[in-house]
Amino acid sequence: MAPETPATSADTGTSGHDASAGAKRDDKGADEPGLVAAVQNGDSEAFSKLVARYMDPAYAVALSILRHEQDAEDAVQASFIRALDRIGQLRPGSRFGPWFYRVLRSTCLNLRRRELLRSHSEVPEAAQSGHDPHREFERRQARARVLKALERLPERQRTAVMMYDLEGYDHAEIAKILEIAVGTSRANLYHGRQALRKILSERGETG
């Protein structure tokens, strides 16, 4: 187990965003229970807001699990639909995020397990987007590097980094979900980010 690290040092692991780390955690999605209640009543606009809010992290999480863009898209779509189908299970006042990420992870793992991913692997991915091919190539290279770097992290560090940086959990929430101490979560994040930075810099990527 990694030694526990003070909060200040843990949150300085990655440049560019740590100063805002506390501020971003202040947004706890206070309007989420209202949005969930509206979706439960069939409000498509509320559902659209939830989709827009969770689209980016959901895609990133799906991509980190499936490592294939088209599969990640399919998984995100399936997860949102699955979540909508079961939204009645959410108690009033419950938050959408943690529950949705469970649905997403389950969907991704099912997709990977069943190996339903081969059908569109032959489609040339560059042809799927209308971007500049050079920029698209660079983006894909960067994405592949990050995914490989994540893959090299120890499990607990990878989990901490993904939950904190991608999914937006705070340390108290991570500690509760993973049943670890808050300090352990901070330490895992700190060491995870350090390792990530080191791996990316080894490959000429400063991250």
């Binding site: 990655t14 440049s15 560019g16 965003h17 740590d18 805002s20 971003k24 955690r25 947004d27 706890k28 999605g29 989420e32 979706v39 439960q40 009543n41 069939g42 409000d43 498509s44 559902f47 659209s48 939830l50 989709v51 809010r53 969770y54 689209m55 980016d56 992290p57 959901a58 895609y59 990133a60 991509l63 980190s64 898209e73 995100v76 779509q77 949102f80 639909i81 909508l84 189908d85 995020g97 987007s129 209308g130 971007h131 983006r139 960067a142 994405r143 590097r145 990050v146 995914l147 940086d165 991608l166 999914e167 937006g168 959990y169 705070d170 929430e173 980010r193 930075r197 990316l200 991250g207």
Partner: protein, 131 residues
């Protein structure tokens, strides 16, 4: 935790580009279109929904009871018919015999002693009459 947070630099490459984001959002909303229906809110809606759900069962029960009632009324029980036939002649016979009996043949109602409820008056009256 919220979906809205600033992304660290390292995971920017994992973010979907704008085109992917729009396409995916559109796909999700299109797939969800049929599922986003306004649910029943009023008690009339709930009643109507339950009524329509229970209608076939109620109709089936009504038909079954109707057939049962029809069968009972259309074909009476043979045993009951036989019993009625057995009882009918004796009734007729009694009706025919009764006028033939003389008025003195029948015991006067006042002399009847109710054996189940013997009392002093009745016993004395019986002794008086029999003497």
């Amino acid at each position: 935790m919220s979906g809205k947070h600033r992304w660290p630099q390292w995971c920017e490459p994992l973010r979907p580009d704008e085109l992917t984001r729009r396409r995916l959002h559109k796909r999700v909303m299109a797939a969800a279109e049929g599922m986003l229906q306004i649910p029943d809110r009023t008690w009339q809606d709930v009643t109507a929904r339950w009524s329509s759900a229970l209608m076939p069962i109620a109709a089936g029960l009504a038909v079954a009871f109707g057939m049962l009632a029809y069968r009972i009324s259309a074909s009476p029980d043979p045993a009951a018919v036989a019993q009625i036939e057995q009882i009918e002649p004796s009734t007729v016979e009694r009706e025919e015999i009764r006028p033939l009996l003389g008025p003195d043949v029948e015991a006067p109602p006042s002399l009847l002693i109710d054996a189940s409820e013997l009392n002093r008056e009745a016993v004395l009256m019986a002794a008086l009459v029999s003497r």
